[in-house]
C-alpha cells in the first residue's frame, strides 16, 4: 500500500483512540491555550452587568437536555452566579420537558455554593425573594404570548406546586414589562419562538445560550439586534465563565473553561486529519 493510500484510509478506531487521547491529555498535562471572548458573549455579559440590582427580573428559560449539558449547563451556572452576585432577581421557566430537572439542579448548585459563604440572611439567596422557578408548561407558543399579558395566568403555581402569589418576588412581576431580558439556554429551536413572539410582539430583549450546532442560524438575528447577546456552545460558555471569574463574581473557572483546552487540541487533530485526507485523495487521483 502506497503512503497516500495509508493516510487516506486510516482505521476509524485509530481515530477514536486519538480523539480520546487528545481529550484526556490536557486534563493531566498543563496546556494553556488562550481563549478570546467573542463580541456576542461580551455583549450579553455587558447587558447583564449593566442592569440595576433589585429592579427588573431576568427570565431564564432552561430548554436544554441531559445530552447537551456539557455545553449549556456551564452557561446556566455562570449566568446564575453573575445574576445572584449582582442581586438581579431571576424567574426560571421551561418549555422543554427535559428542562425542569436540570434547572432545579443548576439553581441548587449555585444557591448552595453562594449560601455556604453567606454571613447573614441579607447575603443569602432565598427562594421566592431572589429567584423563582416556575417549572414546565406545554403549548409554548400560547404560553410565550400569554406571558406578555400575565405571567401568573400561565404559571399560577411554581415547579414545586406553590401558589406564585405567595412569593414576594412574583408580587412585582406581572408580565414582560417587568422582565429586563429573557435568556434562553437551548438545545433546540426554542429561541426562535421567543424572537417571533416575545421579542417581535412585546419588544422583550432576548439573549441566547445555544449548542454550537445551532449557533450559525442565530447570527442573522444578532446582526439585526433581535438577539441582544449570544453564548455559542462550550466556547461561549467558557467565555462567560471567564468574564464572570475576571469580574470577581466567581472564585474559580467552570467546567467549560477547563474543557476548552481539550476542544482546541481536538480541533488541531481534526484539521490535521482533514489535511491528510485531502493530500491522500489528491495523490491517489493523480496516480489514476
Amino acid at each position: 500500500m502506497k503512503w497516500y493510500e495509508v493516510i487516506s484510509k486510516i482505521d476509524r478506531r485509530i481515530i477514536y483512540i486519538l480523539l480520546t487521547l487528545f481529550i484526556i491529555l490536557p486534563f493531566f498535562v498543563k496546556v494553556t491555550i488562550p481563549q478570546n471572548v467573542m463580541p456576542q458573549t461580551q455583549k450579553l455579559f455587558d447587558f447583564v452587568d449593566s442592569l440595576p440590582p433589585d429592579d427588573k427580573v431576568i427570565m431564564i428559560a432552561f430548554e436544554y437536555s441531559p445530552q447537551t449539558m456539557p455545553e449549556c449547563r456551564p452557561m446556566a451556572i455562570a449566568l446564575l452566579k453573575h445574576c445572584f452576585m449582582r442581586n438581579i432577581p431571576i424567574v426560571g421557566v421551561s418549555f422543554d420537558p427535559q428542562g425542569p430537572g436540570l434547572a432545579v439542579e443548576a439553581f441548587a448548585t449555585v444557591v448552595d455554593e453562594l449560601n455556604s459563604t453567606a454571613l447573614s440572611r441579607e447575603d443569602s439567596i432565598i427562594y421566592g425573594e431572589d429567584y423563582v422557578y416556575l417549572g414546565w408548561k406545554s403549548g409554548r407558543l400560547a404560553a410565550i404570548l400569554e406571558m406578555g399579558e400575565s405571567i401568573k395566568s400561565v404559571f399560577p403555581r411554581d415547579h414545586f406546586r406553590n401558589s406564585v402569589d405567595s412569593f414576594p418576588l412574583m408580587q412585582r412581576v406581572r408580565n414582560y414589562k417587568d422582565v429586563a431580558i429573557a435568556i434562553i439556554l437551548a438545545a433546540a429551536d426554542y429561541p426562535l419562538d421567543w424572537i417571533r413572539y416575545a421579542q417581535t410582539r412585546y419588544g422583550v430583549k432576548v439573549g441566547v445560550g445555544l449548542t454550537a450546532v445551532m449557533a450559525p442560524k442565530y447570527y442573522p438575528f444578532l446582526q439585526t439586534g433581535q438577539v441582544s447577546g449570544m453564548m455559542s456552545g462550550m466556547k461561549g460558555a467558557a467565555e462567560y465563565e471567564k468574564l464572570v471569574f475576571e469580574h470577581g463574581y466567581a472564585t474559580e473557572l467552570g467546567t467549560a473553561e477547563t474543557g476548552m483546552n481539550s476542544q482546541s487540541m481536538i480541533h488541531l487533530l481534526i484539521i490535521i486529519l482533514i489535511i491528510l485526507g485531502n493530500i491522500g485523495y489528491f495523490f491517489s487521483r493523480r496516480k489514476k
Binding site: 478506531r13 456539557p70 455545553e71 414546565w136 406545554s138 417581535t200 450559525p216 439585526t224 462550550m234 480541533h267
Partner: protein, 206 residues
C-alpha cells in the same frame, strides 16, 4: 472512585453506549433500550402530571364541562384506527393547522422576513464606523448573490453566472461555518462525558 451508586450506573451506561464505537454488541443494545424505556416513562409521567391532569382531568372533576370539547377533539385523533370513522381525524388536524397558521404566519413574516430584509439594507449610518460599513456591504452582496444563485428562471450566463458563482462561495462559507460549529458541538459532548468519567466517577480530575 465514587461511592455513589448513581454515578456508577451513569458511568457503566456511558461505557455501554461507547462500546458501539468498536462494534454493535449486546451491551450497547441494552443501554439503548433502557434509554428509550426510561425516556418514554419520564415523558408519560410528566405530561400526565403537568399537562393532562391539571388542564383536563382536574377541570372536568371540578365540573368545568366546557373542557369536554378539547377532550373530544383529542379523542378524534384516535378515530384513524377505526376505518369507518377515520374521517373524524380531519377535524382536530384542521383545528391545529388553522390555529398554527394563524399564529405563525404573521410572526414568521415579521421576525424572519421583514426584520431580516431590513438588516441587509445599507444606509449612510452603516458607515459611521467604517468597519461596520464594510461588513454591511459584504452582507448585502452575499444576500443578493445567494438569492441570484437560487433564481432558476434564466440561464446562469454572463453577469447572472458571475454573481451566482459568487453566491456559491458565500453558501460554501456558510456550510464551512456550520460544519466547524457541528464538530465543536459533538466534541463538546464527548468532552462532557470524559469529564464525568474522569471526575465524579474515577476522581482523577476536579
Amino acid at each position: 472512585m465514587s461511592p455513589d451508586p448513581w454515578i456508577w450506573i451513569g458511568a457503566i451506561l456511558t461505557l455501554m453506549i461507547f462500546s458501539f464505537l468498536f462494534k454493535d454488541n449486546a451491551f450497547y443494545k441494552f443501554g439503548e433500550h433502557l434509554f428509550v424505556g426510561v425516556a418514554n416513562g419520564y415523558f408519560i409521567a410528566l405530561y400526565w402530571h403537568n399537562s393532562l391532569k391539571p388542564n383536563l382531568y382536574d377541570q372536568l372533576v371540578a365540573g368545568n364541562f366546557i373542557y369536554i370539547i378539547p377532550l373530544l377533539l383529542g379523542l378524534m385523533y384516535f378515530a384513524r384506527f377505526i376505518p369507518k370513522i377515520s374521517w373524524l381525524v380531519r377535524i382536530p388536524i384542521g383545528f391545529i393547522i388553522g390555529w398554527g397558521a394563524g399564529i405563525s404566519i404573521p410572526a414568521y413574516f415579521q421576525a424572519e422576513i421583514l426584520r431580516q430584509v431590513g438588516g441587509t439594507i445599507v444606509t449612510p449610518e452603516s458607515f459611521i464606523n467604517p468597519l461596520n460599513g464594510i461588513w454591511a456591504l459584504i452582507i448585502f452582496i452575499g444576500v443578493v448573490c445567494t438569492l441570484i444563485y437560487f433564481f432558476f428562471s434564466k440561464e446562469h450566463k454572463g453577469i447572472l453566472g458571475h454573481t451566482s458563482r459568487l453566491g456559491i462561495i458565500f453558501i460554501m462559507i456558510g456550510f464551512g461555518a456550520s460544519f466547524g460549529y457541528t464538530v465543536m458541538a459533538r466534541v463538546s459532548l464527548l468532552i462532557g462525558r470524559i469529564q464525568f468519567l474522569l471526575g465524579p466517577w474515577l476522581g482523577l480530575i476536579k
